[in-house]
């Protein structure tokens, strides 16, 4: 968590992570994006498929209609040419003609002389050449005329009977109906929906490991001893999980190596310090003895702080219900007892009791560091504790001093380990440069944070938030 987020949390305003939204409907999640792309592709493929299907259907329909019209036209001609002249009209009327074909017997041709014939494709499709030359000699049309009539594709044929009258055939094809089957459309819709549902399900399932990986990385960030990821699922996911677990294991080993090294160093230093303390008891010069013991105390404090920082003791301590108000007063009382000269500058304001869930030893160390800093560098430690403003809101705590404050540019950098300001280095105040980093580590491990700010009236305030 960065300091800016901590500030936001303190002021209680939720700040969304910075992101530029280019498209309003572009989903944020990987699953959403994958699903959207797949569904768009599916829609496109289905649309094109539907179009191809329709075009093919129209072609087929046209072909079938043309063949039927050609056949019936031929049948009409045969009926008319074979029938006695007085019964021709009646027999023609009896013929069942398909939709789009009109036949009539007239004295005059429907197609004028020298009219342009329909294109060759139409002539072939409707077998018009065969119509003009079909049948045995004597039964063929005396004359055959063909012409485009009306919109393209429609035409008329005029065939002259051997004895004079014309058989006029008018072809007006019905508009194509590619969607004549309702079941087809329903089946198509069902198929599309099923594919979409399958896509959504599969995408969610496939992106689940990514979320699991992100959650595992988050857990690892909070505690090195987080449980490993299951190395199951598709090959890539299993590989990623394995790689993640290997990385986590290396981090764990690194941390434990470092911890063990520090523990070993501090253990080994414990013996010489103990010896030196004992030797100091045999020193004749009281002044030198006192100074030596003070140096040894300082050394021990530094080792203790380094060890506390390195081992991150907070993680090992169980979290219990704790009276934070009593803890604050305890820390202040102990600080005042340790420095009786500063006791009157130590004050507590807040509720008598306030229960939080916390690790007592760790939290006490964090608050003691803040109070100690305030007394050492600011000459006072006034602690104010405020109840959360509502459920889910943080507990707020501030430690204020009367010191000179610190430059605004250093407010954040003093939380870096071993970072000490010049004032602190120059003064005989000692300090390890670990007090604030340890306090922040502990508070963040509690789900809270600490920031520093210069007060308007002078002095520094350490502002602590803890989950309520």
């Amino acid at each position: 968590m960065s300091a800016s987020q901590a500030d936001a949390g303190w002021q209680g305003t939720a700040v969304a992570p910075p992101s530029v939204r280019r498209w309003r409907f572009w989903p944020r999640s990987l699953a959403g994006r994958t699903a959207l792309v797949l569904l768009l592709g599916l829609t496109l493929v289905q649309g094109l498929g539907l179009l191809i299907h329709a075009l093919d259907r129209v072609d087929l329909q046209k072909f079938a209609q043309a063949r039927e019209i050609a056949g019936r036209s031929f049948a009409a001609w045969r009926t008319v040419v074979l029938a006695p002249p007085d019964r021709r009209a009646a027999m023609l009327a009896d013929i069942d003609l398909p939709q789009g074909l009109l036949a009539s017997l007239d004295e005059t041709p429907a197609v004028p002389l020298n009219a342009a014939p329909p294109p060759l494709t139409v002539m072939r499709l409707f077998r018009l050449e065969q119509l003009a030359t079909a049948g045995p000699r004597g039964f063929r049309p005396q004359e055959a005329r063909f012409a485009v009539l009306g919109p393209p594709g429609n035409f008329a044929a005029s065939l002259r009977l051997p004895d004079g009258p014309w058989l006029n055939l008018r072809v007006r094809l019905p508009p194509p109906r590619p969607w004549h089957s309702e079941t087809f459309l329903i089946a198509f819709a069902v198929m599309t929906l099923a594919a979409a549902a399958l896509t959504l399900w599969a995408v969610r399932r496939l992106t689940l490991p990514v979320r699991a990986l992100a959650e595992a990385a988050d857990r690892l960030g909070r505690g090195v001893n987080a449980p490993p990821l299951p190395e199951t699922g598709p090959a890539e996911v299993a590989t990623a999980a394995h790689a993640f677990n290997t990385m986590a294991e290396r981090i764990r080993r690194f941390v434990s190596d470092r911890t063990q090294m520090l523990a070993a160093i501090s253990h080994d230093l414990r013996t010489p310090i103990t010896r030196l303390r004992l030797r100091a008891e045999f020193m004749e010069d009281e002044e030198q003895r006192r100074k030596m013991l003070a140096d040894l105390d300082e050394m021990e404090a530094m080792i203790t702080a380094t060890l506390a920082f390195a081992r991150d003791d907070a993680a090992a301590e169980p979290s219990v219900p704790l009276d934070l108000a009593a803890l604050c007063r305890t820390v202040l009382d102990e600080a005042a007892d340790a420095r009786p000269e500063a006791a009157e500058h130590v004050a507590y304001a807040g509720p008598e009791h306030l229960t939080v869930q916390a690790r007592p030893t760790a939290l006490k160390r964090a608050l003691a560091n803040l109070v100690g800093n305030a007394l050492t560098y600011g000459g006072a430690a006034r602690l104010t504790l405020a109840r959360p403003e509502g459920s889910g809101r943080p507990v707020r705590l501030a430690v204020e001093d009367d010191g000179p404050g610190i430059p605004a540019t250093e407010l954040e950098s003093v939380f870096q380990p071993f970072r000490r300001l010049e004032v602190s280095r120059n003064r005989e105040t000692g300090g390890t440069g670990l007090g604030l980093p340890i306090a922040r580590n502990i508070l963040r491990a509690h789900g809270g944070d600490v920031v520093l700010r210069n007060r308007l009236g002078g002095g520094l305030a350490a502002v602590v938030t803890l989950p309520g």
Partner: protein, 239 residues
């Protein structure tokens, strides 16, 4: 108290052993030093020891195992030297019945003060008649856990205490319904605190009352006795 108490020091570091022996001998004690638990077991029947100073970090058998064995032999008081911030060792040690503990690197004068306090306490209690250490002491709904040095409220909430407050409370709950004068309290509190003791005790009592939700003007738990003393008015239940 025995004019010359006999102390058994168990520590694996030769220099510390020698320096500590010299230091304690200069304070008028007789010291026998052992380098490990094997050595200590060998030395155990050879003398009558008033107190054992035991380092928990020993090669071979651990100090805790030796402390357990020692408890089976005798009620000899034990002052443990634990590694810095080894919380679990400390808790196990105190539960085993160690009488006090100090984190290494310890301050020799602090160790001397604790040794004297433990010796004074055991001789005052007649020696060997020690009660087994209580895991939890209950009074008026509150629970005091000596091994963890913590106080739990009736709701089970841990209420932090300063070192002085804790020790005062422990002294009070160990002697319920008995009037303890300031002088008695000072004696029982190992004389560890610096500064004006009378005032320190009054301050610690008022702080304790606040934490125990005991009304300072009309206290019902830690009552003030006219003439300068306090009494814990509660039934105490040891478990």
């Amino acid at each position: 108290m025995d004019p010359q108490p006999h102390i058994l020091v168990v520590d694996d570091d030769r220099e510390i052993r020698d320096l500590l022996s010299k230091f304690l001998e200069r304070q008028g004690m007789r010291v026998t030093a052992a380098r490990d638990t094997k050595d200590a077991r060998r030395l155990w029947p050879l003398g009558r020891y008033h107190l054992v100073v035991l380092d928990l970090m020993l090669p071979g058998e651990s100090g805790l195992d030796f402390a357990r064995w020692l408890r089976g032999q005798d009620d000899v008081p034990i002052v443990m030297l634990t590694a810095m911030s080894e919380e679990t060792d400390r808790i196990v040690g105190l539960e085993l019945g160690a009488d006090d503990y100090l984190a290494k690197p310890f301050n020799p004068r602090e160790l001397l003060a604790r040794i004297r306090a433990v010796l004074r306490r055991t001789s005052a209690e007649g020696g060997g008649q020690k009660e087994p250490p209580a895991k939890a002491i209950r009074f008026a709904g509150w629970t005091l856990e000596p091994a963890r040095r913590r106080l739990l409220s009736p709701e089970g909430v841990e209420v932090p205490l300063t070192g002085g407050e804790y020790e005062l409370l422990q002294v009070l709950v160990e002697r319920p319904n008995r009037v303890l004068t300031r002088d008695m309290l000072m004696d029982l509190l190992h004389n560890r605190q610096a500064g004006p003791f009378d005032r320190a005790i009054d301050v610690a009592v008022s702080r304790l009352r606040r934490k125990l939700e005991d009304d300072g003007r009309n206290p019902s738990l830690i009552k003030t006795v006219r003439g300068g003393g306090y009494v814990l008015a509660a039934t105490v239940d040891r478990a």
